[in-house]
Symmetry: C2
Subunit: 490 residues, 2 copies
Amino acid sequence: MPVTQQTASESDVKHQLSLLHEELGSLQRQARQLKIPVIILFEGADGAGKGTLINKLLMSLDPRGFKVYAMHSPNDEAIFRPFLWRFWIKTPERNKITIFDRSWYRHLLDDRVKGDVSSEEAPRYFTEINDFERQLTTDGVVLIKIYLSISKKKQSSRFEKLANNPATSWRVSKKDWKRHKQYDEYSAMADEMIFPTHTEKSPWAKIDSSSIKSATFEVLQLVRGRLTSAINEKLAEKPATMTPDLNWRAKKDNPSRLDQVDLSLTVDTEEYHVRRKQLQQRLHELEHQLYVTRRPVILVFEGWDAAGKGGAIRRLVKGLDPRGYEVIPIAAPNDFELSHHYMWRFWNQYPKGGHIAIYDRSWYGRVTVERLEGFCSEDEWKRGFEEINETEKHWHNCGAIILKFWIHISNEEQLRRFEARKNTTHKQWKISKEDWRNREKWDAYKVAIDDMIDLTDKPTAPWIVVEGNNKPYARIKVLETTVKALESVL
Amino acid sequence: MPVTQQTASESDVKHQLSLLHEELGSLQRQARQLKIPVIILFEGADGAGKGTLINKLLMSLDPRGFKVYAMHSPNDEAIFRPFLWRFWIKTPERNKITIFDRSWYRHLLDDRVKGDVSSEEAPRYFTEINDFERQLTTDGVVLIKIYLSISKKKQSSRFEKLANNPATSWRVSKKDWKRHKQYDEYSAMADEMIFPTHTEKSPWAKIDSSSIKSATFEVLQLVRGRLTSAINEKLAEKPATMTPDLNWRAKKDNPSRLDQVDLSLTVDTEEYHVRRKQLQQRLHELEHQLYVTRRPVILVFEGWDAAGKGGAIRRLVKGLDPRGYEVIPIAAPNDFELSHHYMWRFWNQYPKGGHIAIYDRSWYGRVTVERLEGFCSEDEWKRGFEEINETEKHWHNCGAIILKFWIHISNEEQLRRFEARKNTTHKQWKISKEDWRNREKWDAYKVAIDDMIDLTDKPTAPWIVVEGNNKPYARIKVLETTVKALESVL
């Protein structure tokens, strides 16, 4: 009796499905406890059932633990920033799941079919996406990439079904039918996209969604599998050693850049005042051009305690329109920031095109203070150099002008300034016990800073070592370097 | 010799100015140490010199301690939310200064002159602005409101000067000249705006900016004065007592709402499944209408531990398109959140028009857990009732549909569920020591919850007490109430 058989098998399927749902709920809780962040993205042609399958998946999950983002065309905030910006800032906390309905792959799929991204531009996006995914997965993110495919025939029949039902006809637009005509092109582009981005840590799963029922099973099983291995890996993981490394030197034979700085350079007071005003005036003009051309500027200030970062920044911004720049002081990350990739908080602060972001300390904390205080593992700070280079490259790729200042003073000059602060009532707020403690580690910091400059000084994001013993000299050099850099590109 | 005299007085002025700058820098540091948040807003006709005077003020300040926002017309994110939203989320941390170049007063000034806000609508904005400013200043914010005025003649001469200089001519548009013609209307509107919003805690300073020099002095002196008094007040302030209050009862004669709940209500299993599916289906349809009409929905879930909030939320969202809702679990505030007004983090989560925000616990923590655990002062939680009512009223005013569910169970039922969790392996994660500890305070919580319902149950933001001993009954009631509420307005 075939009818009974079918019923039996249907209830069987239902039972299996409910078991899967239960399992996934439990895996979500385990992942949460183990602080495993998860990203699941869905790509696929229109009508492939992305929305439906996301809904099926969500039924297993505790709604307090996930967020779903439907990624449409970028809005004004996103369009004036790197294309990965809007995804970076949505990466999950370490105990959460983020689900993307379309993702950064729009750029290599829809936008290529539309002709907004050419074959010449595509390689850049491939590189940036692979860097991005590697940075996240190395940091512990489980990245599940699902491509749903259906046949051209199936696509048109789904469109027709939606169009014929008054309750759903709004969901099928002329655009959809236009894209239907481009089905073959779209499929070819998808294949071209999947191959170079199918990596060990972030593989693609191509799932045939002609039957929603069987696709549901495949999606749930895939997520179950990926979560299970991530949980097992995490449980087997040995805790990383976080002992500070004070001696490693990346390029042992490189002479120390810091030793080569001529700290005797000074500038005459009269000249200082005249020059400073000229440069401030010029920078103000450039600020306006910057806005018109929508280029973002990223200025990083690092330097010894009491080197004069604050003073240099104040002279830099003095003539500027405050609506065009922001000074971003970077302190130790708070809990919420710590529960993301270390670059996450800097992506969040990324300036909109036409604006200047001035970082008073920065992501270079990763390879200096975090390295020396043991706030991250050796593996983490060592790969930090490459990650930072990649990131600054991505920013440069979309027009950012990047300058990084290391304000250098001698050990003796620092001592003089510390003593002066201690002995001047209205400057005492500037000096703390921690400053004295850091001072004791001068030599170790010097090694780390030489490494930092050796490994991250790039033509597109150069380090400028500023002679800081004479404050007026340092301030003029910062202003002058910034003005020249802007003039050369505007 | 008048020339010499003038020179003497000029250098005198310069000296005074530099003293003022120094003083302001030092006051900023003191305010930072004392954790005093500051908001300075500038309003005034075009050409009154807002930008220039903001720049003059900023010269005194450490750029790491302030942010400047030029508030243009609201963008897409802001337009689909209450008009105060974009200002709320920009309120400063307790050690920072926020400067607004134009502010929430745009609505009572520019928008009224343009005719976007009518005389009938204006009173609502006055009320909301006064509530907003009172909430902030009571919480310790120093709010400095500056209105810059110039004569009509001065306005046209400034426009002409800008227009005649090629470097600045872009700053004067046809719109500006159009507004110049409306000068008298604008001035009248400004007077009408200033009078009802000039309060003790947030007074206006009207400064004549015909001469930028003297206006600069006035602005700096004003800020110096306000900061000085705020610092002195803070230093004189006695630390608030934070002892938990377990007995206060707002309306002593009101019978307990919780005692009136009929916890014997149940629903038949068969009926539960049928009804649940119908309601989920209906809610899905309403979700789409909601999006089309751009109304936001705010659903608050509060209830005893183990009352079944999570389960009710899951059944509520099961049929929904995940792009249309968000479940927001509320835990103890993190450091960054603590350094703002307690409502700040909820404003940050405010749903965009057309979306549903589901809060699993909420701002009602202020008058329950914070009251009972002594996390805020008596004064703070007592004024919390009014602040919450005002806020929900503001949200209602701009179309929000607000429902607040208290899921009620009996003390015995809670014990049964706790025991069951303890004894069931896959449910043990749901129960913690804190749950047992909270349980001991049942009676105190009951008083606080009765107060909460007595004082914040409003027709525009009603509390629905849900009979929760029978989970299916509770889930159906939540679904049904939500569906009915949406149907009645859509």
